[in-house]
């Protein structure tokens, strides 16, 4: 049994499948390379494994969606990657490499190891190369300062050569990008609407033309209409400026429209990784299926929302076997005994951590998890392929 486990693709196997770092065609392809990344909260007896052995790459100018319910570790993962994690959170293993292209020559790329970087190095890459947008723009903006000062501050810190007037002009330009009037710069955060505040945050995140923008549930606090507008704007801005994005949300249907690739997290690990269209139309992990069935489709026929029974596991308790097994409708004996690794499955570049898809297949794969999918010709039309 244990022999086949390695065969199916443990970590070793996965490394064999994806080319090692030295062999990558070019570090230029990926803006962020994360390997075997783990994060703990606290120490000793009370330790919580919030993120466990996560490996992922973010390709330049693409959107990586990170989905999962509350407590799945998705936010912890990105805060740890950007070294913004607060105590008692600690990075307990793995590394994250940010491939920074130099300002004067975009072709020249310097790798920065975020996990070991000093305060000084971090300050240099922060905001100029990686910026972040948080869920609540009201609390992310300093309540006692005018909007204009937020822009002025980042520009003054990172673009020393700019004059006061140039900074002001740049701020106005950025606001125009997200459809806000320049007079908003003289306002305080509490004087703007929720949608305007989040637009300000997005404009601020783009101030220094970063290569990677991390979005931590930026639309969760907004109404659906504003949410839709902002998602559309983000897609346009990305097409125009070519930055990469990590977009965290629990709303998988939202991700499908924006993301190129999606990773689904459960209990601190990645359980499935696939292109957005594939994941939506043909999920392979029972948890992904459950997530998809918790949201109504925007188009297509009505169906019953089933959701996922039970609640996520307590990460302070070390569990044996698949962490999703207690909630999974397809549990087998093996699931309770061994942890399934994230392994590639036959189809193009997608992986799943589920024994159902082990080869040779132990049992016939349930119909819901074996739908066929072929890439559509036009742009992705989510919902149409729903059952």
């Amino acid at each position: 049994m244990s022999a086949s486990r390695i065969d199916v693709g443990n970590r070793l196997d996965r490394r064999g499948a994806s080319p090692s770092r030295e062999a990558t065609p070019s570090a230029r392809d990926f803006v962020l390379e994360v390997s075997d990344f783990s994060v703990h909260y606290g120490v000793d007896a009370n330790m919580v494994r919030a993120v466990h052995d996560v490996t992922l790459n973010v390709r330049r100018a693409t959107v990586l969606g990170v989905a999962g319910e509350s407590g799945s570790g998705k936010s912890t993962l990105v805060y740890a990657l950007t070294r913004l994690l607060r105590p008692p959170g600690v990075i307990s293993g793995g590394r994250a490499i940010l491939n920074v292209s130099s300002d004067d020559d975009p072709a020249r790329v310097t790798p920065v190891n975020l996990t070991t970087a000093s305060e000084r190095e971090l300050r240099r890459v922060r905001w100029s190369h990686v910026s972040i947008v948080l869920q609540s723009a009201l609390s992310a903006l300093n309540p006692v300062r005018r909007i204009g000062r937020e822009f002025d501050e980042v520009l003054r810190t990172h673009r020393r050569a700019m004059s006061r007037r140039e900074r002001r002009r740049r701020a106005e330009e950025l606001l125009a990008l997200v459809g806000l009037e320049p007079d908003r710069l003289n306002r305080f955060p509490h004087e703007l609407s929720g949608g305007q505040r989040q637009r300000v945050m997005i404009a601020l995140a783009l101030a220094l033309d970063p290569e990677l923008v991390v979005m931590d549930e930026p639309t969760t606090a907004l109404d659906v209409v504003t949410q839709r507008e902002i998602i559309t704007e983000l897609a346009e801005l990305r097409a125009r400026f070519g930055f990469a994005m990590i977009f965290i949300t629990h709303d998988l249907s939202l991700l499908v429209e924006l993301a190129d690739e999606i990773v689904v997290m459960y209990a601190g690990t990645i359980v499935e990784r696939a292109s957005a269209g594939e994941l939506y139309a043909a999920p392979r992990h029972p948890y992904t299926l459950g997530l998809l069935e918790s949201f109504p489709p925007l188009h297509g026929e009505r169906r019953e929302l089933t959701g996922i029974a039970g609640s996520p596991p307590d990460l302070a308790v070390e569990s044996v076997g698949c962490s999703f097994a207690p909630r999974c409708p397809f549990t087998m004996d093996r699931c309770r005994a061994e942890t399934p690794p994230l392994a590639p499955i036959g189809e193009t570049g997608r992986s799943v951590a589920c024994w159902l898809h082990a080869t040779p297949s132990p049992v016939p794969v349930p119909a819901a998890l074996s739908r066929r999918w072929t890439a559509p010709v036009g742009p992705t039309a989510p919902g149409v392929t729903s059952r």
Partner: protein
């Protein structure tokens, strides 16, 4: 701007109420304090002074209550607070001699204590959990000791025994009071020990308050954003401290308001010629005009301090400004 005018109007109204209460209160007291006083002082006061006492209470001989009130307000507008019974001098000139000492001593101590406490509190909040935290129990210890004891012990050790600081009084007997350098230097020298003792006994409050607010602010998203923006550390601390200091500013206004009245123990221990000592004497001697005058000054100072704090708060926290729109 409308907000500021509204506040000022509100405070003007409050001041009027305070002044009126000060007029009404003696009339509500059982018996007649004027009669008691005159009876007690018969033979020692001139008829003029008797009249002054009556007038200072607004108790003219043939006037109605409303007319008395009018006289009282009129006198007040001219800075006339009546004549002190025990000291035989106008209350206004007595106050003019003692209020500056108290305001100087306690005001300086309060501001110094606020600055030291708030600054160290901000640092302590930022470096929470480090070895600097041991400063807190030390500061709390000094605040826990009753002030008269702390003051007396410091006076004995650093003043009487070690002779590091001069003791008793507000300035040396060898200098002439006035705007000359020798006098000012002497005042500062004599003020050092009282100021240090007051700061020592009050700094813990500011420190703890600021530290706790700082820790709360560090948990806020905008501080996380300041880090994410790659700002220098002191800029990040400033982001947090700027918001954390707001409750302390509100407390400072209350403390400043109490500057005039809260000085009794200090002035007794260090034999300082301030209002606290004066008030004690006035109460012991039942010197009603003086008590009334001191109360009026205290009330008006508290009001003025609160008004200033309100205006400062409006300037510092934009969120309080939008209240006017509601």
């Amino acid at each position: 701007m409308r907000m500021i005018l509204r506040r000022i109007a509100l405070y003007a109204l409050t001041a009027w109420v305070a002044v009126t209460v000060n007029f009404v209160l003696p009339r509500l007291m059982p018996g007649n304090p004027v009669q008691t006083l005159i009876g007690k002082l018969t033979g020692q006061v001139t008829p003029n002074e008797i009249r002054a006492i009556r007038l200072s209470f607004g108790m003219g001989f043939h006037e109605g209550l409303l007319a008395q009130y009018g006289t009282y307000l009129n006198q007040l507008a001219h800075g006339n607070l009546g004549v002190s019974i025990t000291l035989g001098a106008p209350v206004s000139s007595i106050l003019r001699a003692s209020v500056p000492w108290t305001v100087g001593l306690i005001g300086v101590s309060t501001v110094v204590s606020f600055l030291i406490g708030t600054f160290s509190g901000a640092i302590l909040g930022w470096t929470r959990g480090s070895r600097f935290d041991s400063l807190i129990p030390t500061a709390t210890f000094f605040q826990a000791i009753p002030y008269f004891f702390l003051g007396t012990v410091m006076l004995l050790i650093f003043g009487s025994n070690l002779h590091w600081f001069p003791v008793l009084g507000a300035y040396s007997a060898n200098v002439t009071p006035g705007w000359n350098w020798a006098f000012i230097a002497s005042v500062i020298r004599y003020g050092e020990l009282p100021v240090i003792s007051i700061v020592l006994s009050s700094v813990a409050g500011w420190m703890l308050g600021m530290r706790n607010m700082m820790i709360t602010m560090i948990g806020e998203d905008f501080v996380l954003m300041a880090v994410a923006k790659g700002l220098a550390r002191r800029r990040v601390i400033w982001h947090a401290a700027r918001s954390a200091v707001l409750p302390s500013i509100a407390n400072l206004s209350l403390a400043i308001g109490l500057v005039v009245s809260g000085a009794l123990l200090v002035e007794l221990v260090f034999n300082y010629p301030g209002v606290g000592d004066l008030l004690l004497q006035a109460v012991l001697n039942e010197d009603y005009p003086l008590i009334q005058g001191i109360f009026l000054v205290i009330t008006l100072t508290v009001l003025a301090a609160n008004l200033i704090a309100d205006l400062v708060y409006l300037a510092l926290d934009p969120r309080t400004r939008s209240e006017a729109a509601v």
